[in-house]
């Protein structure tokens, strides 16, 4: 939401509060005092909130106002009160009703107005790196994540993981108690144990003490580790991330002798070549990159730079490949081969420009050559991107090519390394396993991560951990997962939304991650565990972080800086400065050989929704259709259509799929086959993150664990796999099985050249009658729109900007309390998403199709077919042009859905909302949106609750709702701003400007439904030279 960040300018709209900070040094001491007294005891709610008996003497309610003024009823106290009321509400299973009377607020906490949300700036992390967010808090409950426009990694948007973290917070399966050897234990005992360990290891300089983390991009934690390694010089810090960026770092080391982070300026690139790189949805700066990419494809913007051109060479279809102007499906080892050939073609010294391609790469080679010419014509305005799964040498080559093309300092810059810890994480965990087996590890502290599940199969990390060689195993994690089960101590981790932190963004910009709610399950942070080893048992995360930043910023008025940083969600000036560096030639680079045509290659990819398995228990993400495949609830073996035909593997109606056995070096797994148009013929792909055994009720046993095939030597791809049909069949929960557009004019596309020649191409063949002439009376909403009376809502979806990342679908789910229905219901074609991304494949060649995405929300038809057939008038039209659903009136004849040409209506076949009656899940619900009961229809409302909120605000101020004042959830989250919504009655509204584009068209307008949601046709910017090649290669030519 754009308006929420304009602090205070717009009364009536939610705005962020300035955060008064409790810096009373006594308080920490008091809390320390409580802790030392043992288990927290409390007599009444305020006391609970204060941390237990002993501090009740200065209770806010009854205190002298001089002592505790309103301002000092700090937000933290407020959070604690909320926490207390949650406890009262039965959040923690063992909480009981206090005997004392509970009194309402006499003095309300600052800025808390009943029913009005408050937004707090914070950060959420994915693979360690931060995305700045604004979190909506409704009466003390965080309920929705929005992007922070001031944060460089968010720019106001988020990805699907940040959205789904909201559900992660309230997941009832989260670990709720501290455990020691399976028994419930108190934190103080662990403190004692770790402080004892500290004493022991101090004497031994840390020998035998090991830490295992994931990627650490938190400034304070990095400092703590630096400190720790100073105190315990023989202790070791291991880091492991299943989806590691080892190659990126190793490639940088090869090229520059040091680990640098690349900073891409995609908005400056005219030509982009991505080699197995899914840069639009992966990497620390993915949102910024996607935004920059789409900006250069907005040809209608005034003063727009020329449209960029994206070449993609990739082994398995990705979101980035879907946006490509030229996409070549080639195996991942052939991608490496092509990068090397490109180095020669663009004149990297030491590489021959006389390139020869094996027959299977003839077509890709032609494209590569044409691309090389294109790149050379855009010196300093092009960009080569190498995927994380390519080997380090190829990354180094990528740097060399970018240098040769003069891109350094233009489209790409180098930043110092932002995360810390071992640069080669795979080697790091391999070393840890080796040391465990050698008996060198006595105490292992695992801070986050689940290596017992996701470490490479050949290491047998779980086996090593389970052996008794490690005497003391401590695990901090959100879930009592596979790794926790093998540890002596398990500490429930605090969720990012309930703890303090300071994660860094892709460019080093720090954000203070602040808690929105007191930890639901008394979770702890890595900072607090580290503090024990550093001898600071008394310090909370907040203390540690403030201390770090006080020292680092050295500001005269630290408190003010701190408050501003908290409010804005960024610590200004913490972004890293680019460093100058020149790559050196690769020593001893051997030419890359190609393997035989019949050598099949297996590629591992992080799952687009559950990633490496860390989100496996997140129902929103399990049920979110994966971009391109539209698979939910599980993984599959992706094979190219040609390969499937050769091996006799079939996909049939209703998700029935043959099960194949994949064998690598004698290890094999069985999983269902999904035929993926656009998959490279030599490559089969599996996704990580499935087959969890201890994920929780949602994630257990979903999909197949592919870890057994993965080795530390080949974490991303392995050649020489065997695929065999087993004769078994399984069902894949696909939400959208039919790829073909059936020749229907649904997603309208043209090349840039065609568009320039015929700007109105998208409207060709439209029925004239659909443009206004009618014998019937003008409907009231239409009349009001034409007369400019009141508000008229409309939406434009720019297909040229949409990358199909699916973030909008999760955002919609979060905003509108959309239930998760489960695999069986998805198989029955009953998923509830109000917004879906349709995906079609275009072109004659199923092995190399063009890919189209089309988000489909409710079209809010002015002449809505659903309305006239409802026998009880449960779906009606508002004067503002919304097609409204009155849930209470719906009897469930379902005729409206049958008569909806867009099939956007969703029906509660069962009481799906019952899935959300768990006490914590209840807290997740948006209080502004009705939870629907069994037997009623529902659908996209254009986030009518937000419209109503804005209307109320406008009415109070006696003005009209502004054109861009209301932001729908899908619009707010979109990294590429593909969705534009607003008040059509404001001529200046962005939505009117978007709809004025000649590319604007209405879907199925021939039905005269007059949709308020319209689309801007998609453009491609192909290289004319390659078009000619393609015509030559086409069998029809």
């Amino acid at each position: 939401m754009s308006h929420i960040h304009e602090h205070g300018q717009e009364p009536g709209t939610p705005h962020m509060i300035e955060l008064p900070i409790l810096d009373d040094p006594g308080e920490a001491a008091e809390r320390r005092g409580d802790r030392e007294r043992g288990p927290m005891l409390w007599r009444h709610l305020e006391e609970y909130a204060r941390g237990g008996a002993g501090v009740s003497s200065d209770l806010g309610e009854f205190a002298d106002p001089g002592v505790e003024v309103l301002d000092d009823a700090s937000r933290r106290d407020f959070l604690k009160y909320m926490g207390a009321s949650l406890a009262l509400g039965g959040i923690s299973g063992c909480a009981y009703q206090p005997p004392e009377a509970v009194v309402p607020y006499v003095q309300a906490p600052e800025l808390l107005a009943s029913g009005k949300p408050i937004y707090f700036a914070s950060a959420l992390t994915h693979m360690g790196f931060a995305t700045g967010v604004l979190v909506k808090s409704a009466m003390g409950r965080p309920v929705k994540v929005e992007g922070n426009p001031d944060h460089p990694a968010s720019l106001g948007a988020t990805d699907l993981f940040a959205q789904a973290d909201m559900l992660g917070l309230y997941d009832p399966d989260r670990s709720q108690t501290l455990l020691h050897s399976g028994r419930v234990e108190i934190w103080e005992r662990l403190q004692t144990a770790l402080l004892d360990a500290r004493e022991k290891y101090l004497a031994r300089k840390g020998a035998g003490l090991r830490f295992l983390t994931q990627t650490v991009a938190s400034a304070t934690l990095q400092a703590q580790f630096a400190n720790l390694l100073k105190t315990f010089p023989e202790a070791k810090w291991h880091a492991y991330e299943s989806v590691s960026r080892d190659s990126v770092r190793a490639g940088s080391t090869l090229a520059y002798g040091e680990v640098y982070e690349s900073l891409h300026h995609i908005e400056r690139a005219n030509v982009i070549a991505a080699f197995d790189s899914d840069f639009l949805v992966s990497g620390p700066g993915r949102i910024k990159d996607a935004r920059a990419f789409s900006k250069r494809r907005d040809v209608d913007a005034p003063g727009a730079a020329p449209m960029n051109r994206l070449y993609v060479f990739e082994s398995t279809p990705s979101v980035t490949g879907g946006s490509a102007d030229h996409r070549s499906p080639v195996a991942s080892d052939d991608v490496a081969f092509l990068v090397e050939k490109l180095a020669g073609l663009v004149g990297v010294s030491g590489y021959s420009s006389d390139v020869v391609f094996p027959p299977r790469l003839t077509q890709a080679g032609r494209i590569l050559k044409a691309m090389a010419a294109d790149l050379k014509a855009s010196i300093g305005k092009s960009l080569i991107l190498i995927g994380d799964n390519q080997p380090p040498e190829i990354h180094a080559l990528g740097h060399l090519i970018n240098h040769a093309l003069g891109n350094f300092g233009q489209t790409i810059e180098l930043l110092p390394r932002i995360d810390a810890g071992p640069a080669n994480q795979t080697a790091s965990i391999a070393e840890l396993v080796k040391d465990i087996n050698a008996g060198l590890v006595e105490t292992l502290v695992i801070l986050g991560g689940n290596p017992a599940y996701d470490a490479p199969g050949n290491l047998d990390f779980a086996g090593a951990l389970a052996s008794d060689r490690v005497k003391q195993r401590i695990h901090l994690g959100l879930y009592h997962d596979e790794t926790a089960a093998l540890c002596h101590w398990h500490v429930p981790a605090a969720h990012a939304l309930e703890s303090w932190g300071d994660p860094l963004a892709f460019d080093g910009t720090a954000t203070i991650q602040q808690p929105l709610i007191a930890p639901l399950f008394k979770g702890k942070t890595a900072h607090e565990i580290m503090a024990l080893f550093l001898g600071d048992p008394s310090k909370s995360s907040l203390d540690l972080i403030r201390e770090y930043w006080r020292n680092r910023l050295k500001a005269a008025d630290f408190d003010t800086v701190w408050k501003i940083s908290l409010r804005d969600g960024v610590i200004v000036g913490t972004g890293y400065k680019p460093v100058p560096a020149a790559p050196r030639p690769l020593p001893g680079a051997k030419p890359i050989a190609t393997v035989g045509d019949d050598v099949m290659e297996l590629v591992f990819r992080p799952d687009p929704t559950v990633w490496d398995g860390r989100y496996a228990n997140n129902g929103w993400l399990q049920e979110l259709p994966k971009p391109l495949t539209n698979l939910t609830w599980g993984n599959a073996l992706l094979v190219a259509p040609a390969v499937a035909e050769r091996l006799g593997l079939r996909n049939e109606n209703e998700g029935w799929a043959d099960v194949a056995e994949v064998t690598v070096d004698g290890r094999s797994i069985k999983l269902p086959v999904l035929i993926a148009p656009g998959q490279a013929a030599r490559t089969v792909t599996v996704h990580l993150g499935h087959g969890r055994r201890r994920a929780g009720k949602v994630g257990d046993g979903v999909g197949v664990d592919v870890g057994v095939l993965r080795t530390s030597a080949n974490p991303w791809s392995v050649a020489g796999v065997k695929i065999a049909k087993t004769g078994e069949r399984a069902r894949l929960a696909l939400t959208h099985a039919h790829y073909n557009m059936e020749g229907r004019n649904l997603v309208r596309t043209a090349t840039l050249a065609e568009y320039k020649e015929e700007p109105a191409f998208a409207q060709e063949g439209e029925h004239e009658g659909a443009r206004g002439e009618t014998l019937f009376e003008t409907p009231e909403p239409r009349r009001r729109h034409e007369a400019g009376e009141g508000n008229s809502w409309g939406m434009a979806i720019n297909l040229n900007a949409c990358i199909g990342c699916n973030a909008c679908v999760v955002a919609c789910q979060s905003e509108n309390n959309i239930p998760v229905v489960g695999r069986d219901q998805v198989l029955a074609s009953r998923e509830m998403h109000w917004l879906r991304i349709d995906r079609y494949f275009e072109g004659e060649n199923i092995d190399d199709p063009k890919i189209d995405f089309q988000p489909i929300p409710c079209m809010q038809c002015e002449k809505a077919p659903c309305e006239i057939v409802c026998p009880v008038g449960a779906t009606t039209h508002s004067v503002e042009g919304l097609n409204e659903m009155t849930y209470n009136r719906c009897v469930g004849t379902r005729y409206c859905s049958n008569n909806c040409p867009y099939k956007v209506r969703r029906f509660n076949f069962f009481h799906y909302a019952l899935n959300t009656t768990h006490p914590t899940l209840k807290m997740l619900q948006n209080p502004d949106v009705t939870v629907r009961t069994r037997g009623v229809m529902e659908k996209c409302t254009y986030c009518v609750q937000r419209i109503n909120g804005a209307r109320i605000g406008a009415e109070i101020e006696n003005r009209r709702v502004g054109g861009d004042e209301v932001t729908t959830a899908c619009q707010g989250v979109c990294p590429t701003k593909a969705i534009v919504f607003g008040n059509l009655n404001d001529p200046e509204a962005s939505v009117n400007k978007a709809k004025a584009s000649p590319r604007n068209y209405a879907l199925l307008s021939e039905l005269n439904t007059r949709p308020r949601t319209t689309y801007l046709a998609k453009l491609r910017n192909p290289n004319p030279e390659i078009e000619a090649i393609a015509r030559d290669a086409s069998p029809r030519a």
Binding site: N653, E654, H736, A737, H738, N740, M741, E742, G743, R744, L746, Q825, A828, S829, R830, E831, R836, D838, R839, Y840, Q854, I856, P865, I868, V869, C870, P871, V872, G873, R889, C890, V891, G892, T893, R894, Y895, S897, N898, N899, P901, Y902, K903, R905, R906, F907, N908, F909, F910, H911, T933, R934, G935, V936, M937, L1004, L1007, T1009
Partner: protein, 469 residues
């Protein structure tokens, strides 16, 4: 051939076998109920029917407990077995009114012996039909919101919705059918009252006979009322199924959005109704030995109607396809010319064409019409075909509509089948009870027929030229 059955080679059969008097007719028809002992096979039939009724109750209870999700419906196929069954049962119900009302007005005296149980069949079919859309609602306990009733919210049904028209059409049809049937029963109930020996039966029939004493005044009023009701019921034959067809025709969905639907649905309804009458009449007359009353003539006439309506239905199919081809909508072309004959439900479509268009063509031949066994088989084929027709219309149109992204498949679940077979059981149970406890052939009208045949008033005795061959 049954020995009692007239030879088919002889002159065209009469509507009533010769030699009957008022007494024989009255005795035979009332003895079916009042004298005939309870037989084991009757209990067997009742048992089978009743267990299916229990299945229906179980399925309905489970449905009400869990929600309509227990059925196979999904997105985009939001309507499934319930609507298929609804249209099918309503169609079956059609023959009753047609036989009772229209043929009465047209003075077709061959209707006389079959009208009573056709009417009963209509009622039971309408009961089964009415059940379906109620159970089909997402929140069935709010069904009454579809009816106009004054309420504090000032809310009325949404009159533009064909579902509201349906409520009126079906409830009117049901009401008129009940009244028509009951009025027709009154003189016979009085006969039963007078002849039954059991005191309780006497009282029971007596209450419902409404004090009928057979006076000329009574007869006069009875005849007038019956004719008026016939007049009222006549338009309903056309209206009910036309309105039902509008449930589909009003929509924008290719395959539903078709102007040919109202007449084609009415023809289909008569088609399936007569098929069901034949399906029931043949075993019924064999069981009770009613060859004198339901003669080859009846079967022959009904077979002809089945043939005629089959041709109309076939024409409907053809016009759907033709209009899709002739029109310019690619969606309709896809739905009707590709997806139905060649899509994933092609087997249903092809079966439907075989059952409804091809199989009845055998009835062009007299030997086929007079072969009772064959006719019975054809009638069952038609019943199946007409169920498939509704399945094809509802499912194939919905499962692949405008946006291929939403395309999906539909299959009934075990609860769909349980509900469907349950309604069949409900229907047969009611029918079995009806045959046992009420005059399944109108005694009054048969006596009139005796009078006509004896006194040569009816055309039927000399009617061979127009009804034979």
């Amino acid at each position: 051939m049954h020995p009692q059955e007239p030879e088919s080679s002889s002159a065209p059969a009469a509507v009533l076998a010769p030699g009957h008097t008022f007494t024989t007719v009255t005795d035979q028809l009332s003895d079916m109920v009042l004298v005939r002992p309870y037989e084991g096979r009757w209990f067997l039939c009742l048992g089978v029917g009743f267990s299916l009724v229990m299945t229906l109750f179980t399925a309905a209870a489970y449905l009400l407990f869990q929600g309509v999700g227990v059925w196979g419906i999904d997105v985009p196929v939001m309507w499934g077995f319930a609507i298929v069954n609804f249209v099918w049962w309503i169609g079956i119900g059609h023959a009753g009114t047609l036989i009772s009302a229209i043929l009465l007005l047209l003075k077709q005296d061959w209707r006389t012996s079959i009208n009573r149980f056709s009417e009963a069949m209509t009622l039971f079919a309408v009961a089964c039909a009415g059940m379906s859309p109620l159970l089909h609602l997402g929140r069935p306990w709010l069904f009454y919101w579809l009816m106009p009733y004054p309420n504090t919210m000032g809310l009325w049904p949404q009159w533009r919705s064909p579902l509201v028209w349906d409520v009126f059409a079906v409830s009117t049809y049901g009401t008129v059918s009940v009244i028509f049937w009951y009025v027709g029963l009154i003189p016979d109930l009085a006969t039963f009252r007078d002849r039954s020996k059991n005191r309780w039966a006497k009282m029971g029939y007596g209450v419902f006979a409404l004090g009928w004493n057979g006076s000329a005044k009574h007869w006069h009023r009875y005849r007038t009322a019956y004719l008026i009701l016939a007049g009222l019921a006549t338009p309903l034959v056309v209206s009910v199924h036309s309105v039902v067809s509008l449930d589909f025709a009003v929509s924008v969905l290719p395959g539903w959005h078709t102007t040919v639907f109202p007449p084609y649905f009415v023809a289909g309804a008569i088609f399936s109704g007569f098929a069901m009458v034949v399906t029931l009449a043949i075993p019924f007359r064999a069981w009770y030995g009613l060859y004198d009353y339901i003669t080859a003539r009846h079967l022959d006439n009904m077979a002809k109607i089945i043939l005629a309506t089959s041709l109309m239905v076939g024409y409907g199919y053809f016009m759907e396809g033709f209009m899709a081809w002739y029109g310019s909508s690619s969606f309709e072309k896809f739905a009707l010319l590709y997806n139905r004959p060649f899509g994933p439900y092609a087997h249903s479509w092809r079966m439907m064409v075989f059952c409804n268009v091809l199989a009845p063509q055998i009835l062009w031949f007299k030997w086929a019409r007079s072969n009772v066994g064959l006719l019975w088989v054809v009638s069952i084929i038609v019943n199946i075909g007409m169920w498939l027709e509704r399945y094809v219309i509802v499912i194939t149109s919905l499962h692949r509509d405008f946006l291929p992204s939403s395309w999906s498949m539909y299959h009934g679940t075990v609860w769909d089948y349980a509900t469907y077979y349950g309604t069949l059981g409900f229907f047969f149970t009611l029918l079995i009870l009806f045959i046992r406890f009420l005059p399944a052939i109108s005694i009054t009208e048969m006596r009139e027929l005796v009078h006509k045949t004896q006194h040569g008033h009816g055309r039927t005795t000399e009617a061979s030229p127009e009804t034979g061959s």
